[in-house]
């Protein structure tokens, strides 16, 4: 049921949904948490995530890196709790990873920034190539990336972002940009894609999701709209043409 309230959002959904960073970093990230129609869950399912695209070393880096890009903090859960690494794994292992919506005919040459992405790599090839190079570098250090202090992790990610490294032909800035974009996608997309688990990201900002009718609510100017978000996995709307004599289709 829709309702407006001027109560603060944190009071509504509670700090219980915020898992401490340390707890998440010590163990594997949460697998799919059960949908809870009345509110967010505070339970973190300890089941091991299944990775079909990333190998173990790649998954370890991706989990730690994503949690630095979107960390758990006072404002709410981070990338791990939201299942962002699983989103990346599914996307890269599927059509998107193999070049969906990417024009892939040569000749290949680098262009100006205005001309956009011009590398021959599919996203899957780009991630495997870049992660292999990254992990080769990290193996020379005494401490695994995931066990480094956050400041050291951030420093390494910033070096990737700055484009300082050549990752076996992938400019590190290109890899970083793709990692960041896909992490934000996974964080905020509908949970049917494996990220934004239990709609944690939507709850955090107050986005009602696939909910579709604000005809009355739009008149309530300036009031907080409080409503349990809705995934496309649970919307049961159906619509009928106003005039049954007009064919809806051929």
């Amino acid at each position: 049921m829709d309702k407006f309230s001027r109560r603060s959002f944190v009071a509504t959904v509670g700090a219980a949904s915020v898992a401490p960073v340390s707890a998440l970093l010590q163990g594997p990230p949460a697998a799919a948490a059960p949908q809870n129609p009345t509110g967010p869950t505070s339970a973190v399912n300890p089941a091991k995530p299944v990775y079909l695209f990333f190998n173990l070393a790649e998954a370890a880096f991706i989990e730690a890196a994503c949690e630095r890009l979107i960390p758990a903090d006072e404002s709410g859960p981070g990338a791990l709790r939201a299942g962002v690494p699983n989103y990346l794994d599914t996307q890269l292992g599927g059509a998107w990873g193999s070049g969906e919506r990417l024009y892939r005919s040569g000749p290949w040459q680098s262009g100006s920034p205005s001309q956009g992405y011009q590398l021959p790599f599919t996203p899957a090839e780009l991630f495997h190539t870049a992660l292999r190079a990254i992990n080769r570098q990290l193996e020379t250090k005494s401490t695994p990336f995931g066990a480094l202090p956050p400041e050291a992790q951030d420093a390494f990610l910033k070096s990737l972002e700055a484009g300082a490294l050549d990752l076996d032909g992938v400019p590190s800035a290109v890899f970083f940009d793709m990692l960041l974009r896909m992490s934000v996608e996974g964080f905020f997309s509908d949970p049917v894609y494996g990220g934004n688990r239990d709609m944690v990201a939507w709850r955090m900002i107050g986005f009602p999701g696939a909910y579709a009718d604000y005809y009355e609510a739009i008149d309530r100017h300036g009031e907080r709209f409080v409503r349990e978000p809705m995934s496309i996995g649970e919307d049961g709307h159906a619509h009928i043409h106003p005039d049954p004599n007009i064919p809806a289709r051929l």
């Binding site: 969906e100 990417l102 205005s114 956009g116 997309s189 009602p208 005809y215 051929l250």
Partner: protein, 589 residues
Amino acid sequence: MAQKLKEVDVVIIGVGMVGSIVAKELAAAGYKVVGLERGEARFTVPEFQGPAIHDELRFDIRKALMQDNTREPVTFRNHGSETALPVRRWESFLPGTGLGGSMVHWNGQTYRFQANDFELATRTRERYGKDFLDADVTVQDWGVTYAELEPYYDRFEYLLGTSGKAGNIKGTIQPGGDPHESPRSREYPTPPQKEHFQGAMFRKAAIGLGYHPFPQPSSNLSQPYTNPEGVKLNACVFCGFCERYACEHYAKSVPQTVILPVLLANPNFELHTGCQVQRINLDSTKKKATGVTYIDRAGREFEQPASLVITSSFALNNVRMLLLSGIGKPYSPASATGVVGRNYAYQTMSSVASFFDQDVFINPFMASGASGTLINDFAGDNFDHSGLGFIGGAFIGAVNTNGRPIQYHPVPPGTPAWGKGWKEAVVKHYNHTVMFSLHGSSVSTRQNYLDLDPTYRDAWGQPLLRMTFDFPQNDLKMAAYVTAKGVEIGKAMGAKQVAGAPRKGPYTTTVYQTTHNTGGTVMGNDPHTSVVNRYLQSWDVSNVFVIGASAYPQNASWNPTDTLGALTYWAIDALKNKYLKNPGHLVAA
């Protein structure tokens, strides 16, 4: 070897908005019409239905409704000295594909251009002198006037059922509407949509500054409507999934909801989908088209003979079809000769973000594609440009259409791109920010143009369209000027922080701006500076009509669809009442 089909009266390339309307009118007049659509047939039920249609990843990010760029992209460069490279992923503009065309995923923003826009070269000279424009600017008159188009604007808006408030009916200014608009013959078909909170805040601040706010004219309807074709639409419920999406509610005016049910019931019309037209065929004189050749989705080649060929695809594709068919002389910037591909223009988009305190709840997700409030005080030639060094302008409006969070999570300038600082800012500002759109005009220039790429090809082996474009100095000056005005309005709304983002060069294909690509088959009265005459008929091949925003000699301060609808009915009138009664050139070259 192409299989030759039975000759028909009319073949239409592209069954989007223009193709549907032209086909409906000519089929109803008794002509045998074949419509060739490269994409799929699709309808409100079942293709556009919830819950699957409310999927930001699939439709916004993965661009499910757009032209298949893996087979048919464009190539791009900023300047003629560079090598153009393929736009390997769509971002800056998003041409649609499939039955209903790009209009299926439009916002429904339904503006008329102003009288001044159609005579831009003449009126600029008259008001500011002959040396006012930069030397590279090639703006010109359209060859048709606003007064001539007014009845056709009216007809198109009543087809759509557009919701709005007139500001000028037959010269009498109407309270609540846009006082700058050129006279319209009657009120909008339906009243304006409800105003969202951002719109109301903007309205109050704009009035305080002495401006003239009005409700955005919207083809997401404010109430149920039955159009003159007898087709019924519903009221929009502000779902916030409009542009880049198809409407599940029968509330957005698109071919499926305003005309296709009538067209598809007419036995004079045949729709063929999955058909990629390769070229318009010409006879040995190159002065007459004999039909088109297309390849179907199974790879079979067909020749469809026709007495009349109408290309009604997206602006960029209209240009490419003429170039691939050898109709009209291609434009060369070096010699400034030729016409096809000349005067490519775009839209100069700027924005202003106003950040409010935590107790001001904006609810950006409650919106239609066109339910905002705006001013035209700095659009077109509605203000004195003397001493400013540019022509044109922008509408400024609180016209935010959604709160879909992958794309929409505004943060103040200086916020880190990731990490704790980014996340805190996203959470803090998501529901407390008002975004203005500053929708700016675009002049045509000598160096911005379209031609065929010498290297890259489509999936059928044909050359891609090559775009050479950068923002003209005229438009960058305009963007800086109007953005400063927008920032003043944001401050007048009481925002804690206001950040203006005037459009700056170079133009990039990597950031979405608009899908308002115009020009390349420009209309006009002089065959040396236009591809089609004032009735959108090819100067070179009289039985080819080219109907699209490709006809615009430059782009104005508003979304182009309403003007394209008016031009469509204008051209149909010439076809039905002049051309088809006596085929031949409607204007002597």
